[in-house]
């Protein structure tokens, strides 16, 4: 089959035996599918793909713009109320601070009056309290200590038993035992003046970690 493509017409090696009058530029493209078709298809596909990509991105940007405008509208609608809420919150915080400070100022594990009343309620008839001391420093690092000093009636043997039982009863007391720990009998010695036994009990307030 004869081929009239441009390439096949180009003389290769053998010298021409007559003048070639063909104008290659003007000869038609005789391939089954012309090159222009491929060029146009490729360029067109690339252009369409880029246009679609561009359109998608622009649509996304537009959508985001809409959403931003919506969010801004919500901000604008609530801005005044929000500012008022913030103002009120600040007032609330400041006022609350005062209450908290007053509460912290007064906070004690057990008020002195309650402690003395409970000591009075639990006191056996054989025991007489001469001195009660309560030290509650405002510095939380320093321990809070209550001290009881007094006399126990009876023989030395009986007095020792009574004092020991009294300390046990203080430890077992639902309120005192819950707040004070350790409760220790520090001294139990004969009192020269009365013939009774004098004692000293130390009650320490439980630290936060112990509770």
């Amino acid at each position: 089959m004869l081929s009239l493509t441009k390439k096949s017409d180009v003389p290769v090696a053998a010298p021409l035996w007559h003048t070639n009058f063909r104008n290659f530029e003007r000869l038609p493209d005789t391939k089954v599918v012309r090159t222009t078709f491929f060029v146009n298809t490729a360029a067109g596909a690339a252009a369409i793909a880029l246009l679609l990509w561009l359109g998608y991105r622009e649509y996304t940007i537009f959508n985001l713009g809409e959403q931003i405008a919506e969010a801004q509208a919500q901000i604008d609608a609530n801005a005044k109320q929000n500012a008022e809420a913030l103002r009120l919150t600040k007032i609330f915080t400041d006022e609350d601070k005062k209450l908290v400070e007053a509460e912290v100022f007064q906070k004690v594990p057990i008020p002195v009056s309650e402690y003395i009343e409970l000591i009075g309620q639990t006191l056996p008839k054989e025991i007489s309290i001469d001195f009660a001391d309560a030290r509650m420093p405002s510095d939380p690092k320093q321990p809070m200590i209550y001290v009881l000093r007094g006399l126990v009636a009876g023989t030395r043997d009986q007095a020792a038993g009574t004092a020991s039982s009294y300390v046990d009863s203080l430890r077992a007391h639902p309120r005192l035992g819950a707040v004070l720990d350790p409760i220790t009998l520090d001294k139990l010695t004969p009192d020269g003046g009365t013939g009774f036994m004098s004692f000293e009990i130390t009650l320490k307030v439980k630290t936060e970690g112990k509770k």
Binding site: G44, R57, L64, I75, F92, Q106, G120, A134
Partner: protein
């Protein structure tokens, strides 16, 4: 290649040339707007967060005006219970009044210098108080002090049996030495 050659080529491949031009323009535009989506997404995230915060603040603060008014009433009442360090006579009068009401003998009452404290809104104004009386009356005095008009914190309390009476009990007489603070303003 001259300009004329280029024109000739364009004329020969007009569709291809148009498509290439579209590609170039689209590419340029895509490059020009390449950061736009990220920037808008960031802006949207910030705005939506702010809007959500505003809505939440408004919703939470629905009953805030009433709560603030209630709190202000309480703190106003509290302000009335604070001691003013400068009003020495008024402050001491409080103890004398308690003395009279509880029928105890006020042996000594002193207002001590106010410690400097910049950390808190209020300060504890220190007092030393010594009283003497029957056990019940002394206890009543102490209770009135602890739960009285002013905010009180007892730092030390020493109960001592008054000489010549039996031990601490309902019928005995005792002395009470107190070191306390009343919440106030310097």
């Amino acid at each position: 290649m001259t300009f004329a050659d280029l024109i000739a080529r364009i004329k020969k491949q007009p569709i291809g040339f148009t498509c290439v031009m579209i590609c170039l323009l689209s590419g340029g535009w895509l490059y020009y707007r390449s950061g736009e989506i990220d920037a808008r997404q960031e802006e949207y995230r910030a705005k939506s967060e702010q809007a959500a915060k505003f809505i939440s603040n408004v919703a939470i603060s629905k009953n805030l005006p009433e709560q603030v008014a209630e709190l202000q009433t309480i703190t106003k009442e509290m302000d009335g219970r604070l001691v003013r360090a400068g009003q020495l006579a008024v402050n001491l009068q409080y103890f004398y009044k308690l003395e009279a009401e509880n029928e105890v003998k006020l042996l000594d009452v002193r207002q001590n210098p106010v410690p400097k404290n910049a950390k808190t809104l209020f300060v504890g104004i220190p007092y030393n108080v010594n009283i003497q009386g029957p056990y019940k009356n002394v206890m009543a005095f102490l209770q009135r002090l602890e739960k009285g008009r002013h905010f009180c914190r007892v730092n030390t309390a020493s109960f001592t049996k008054f000489a010549g009476t039996a031990g601490m009990g309902d019928g005995s007489s005792i002395t009470l030495a107190l070191s306390l603070e009343l919440l106030g303003q310097p």
